[in-house]
Amino acid sequence: MTPPLPRHADPAQRSVAAATRRQRRRRPLGAKIMGGFGEILITLGVLGLLFVVWELWWTGIEAESDRQDSLDEFYANMPARPAVSDGDDGDNDDDGPNPADFEVCYTLDDGTEIGCADHMRAQTGSEQIMGTVYAPRLGENWAAPIRYGVSATQIDRGGVGHYPNTQWPDEPGNFALAGHRNTNASMLGNQDSLQIGDPIYVVSYDGIYVYEVRERQVVLPNQTEVLNPVPSDSAAEAEFGVLTFTTCHPMFSNRERLIHHAEIVDFVPIGAEAPADLVHHEPITQMFYAGGAG
């Protein structure tokens, strides 16, 4: 037994002490190699775990802040709510758009007129927000800005992307959107909680396109027929609008795609009454009447 060294020994003594420690701990070469190999394996394991943390959590931080910025920008540039008119003051000059005279692009079988999306169709730049989609089932404050395109540039920034080769909300056909399930703020992480009959609202500066969920599907990534104008029939000609959500399936995998189709049921022009589901989003009531106005 060597007597314990004083705590503040001079450097020479300390290195002697270190040398003695090394001496004591000298292991056979084989054990050293195995130990080093083990440490490399542990390092690789930790790196793998860190990558999972990054993918599932870290990517969401930036995407969520991008989403919030996009939403703020979409709200900030909203056209002002038209002035309330009592209808018989005789001058309509400064009353803003009249909900009755929007441009109709096509009419549903039940007579519902679907307004044109001229403004939305022009927002195809990578920095532009076409509109915002709301699905109350996915959360009271769930709001996904829509960008034009489905590559990482568009959908990694929170929100959803519009498949460029699909149709627009103002025409019969498929308005298809893609969003992340597990990464980059997981915009469509809860897509599977959508129920048949749930409303989905696409709010744009042209008006609100109202959809109702009709069908849930799980397909393979190459089954692009779900993006057809009529998803179930590639030969048929579309007679009404469909909104399609696409995301990864199952959770934490990309083996398949989860698909929800919704059918257009209504159009709310600027100046008309906003759907009750949306009135708690204050900026929307600035563009649309919240109801009972006047």
Binding site: T59, N182, P221, T247, C248
Partner: protein, 54 residues
């Protein structure tokens, strides 16, 4: 490997070496998160949510 790094390569008394270790680890994790993983993710399938012919 790490024991040797901690004992022989890092300077100063124990508490300095502990602080240095934490700082170095934080720097490595930050570098991975900001630079290495974004590059690596191009080869990861989880971010691929779209449908395409193929």
């Amino acid at each position: 490997m790490y024991a040797w790094f901690f004992r022989e390569l890092l300077p100063g008394p124990l508490w300095v070496r502990i602080i240095l270790t934490v700082v170095l680890l934080a720097a490595v994790v930050y570098g991975l998160m900001e630079f290495v993983f974004p590059w690596l993710s191009e080869y990861s399938p989880l971010g691929d949510v779209t449908l395409e012919d193929g």
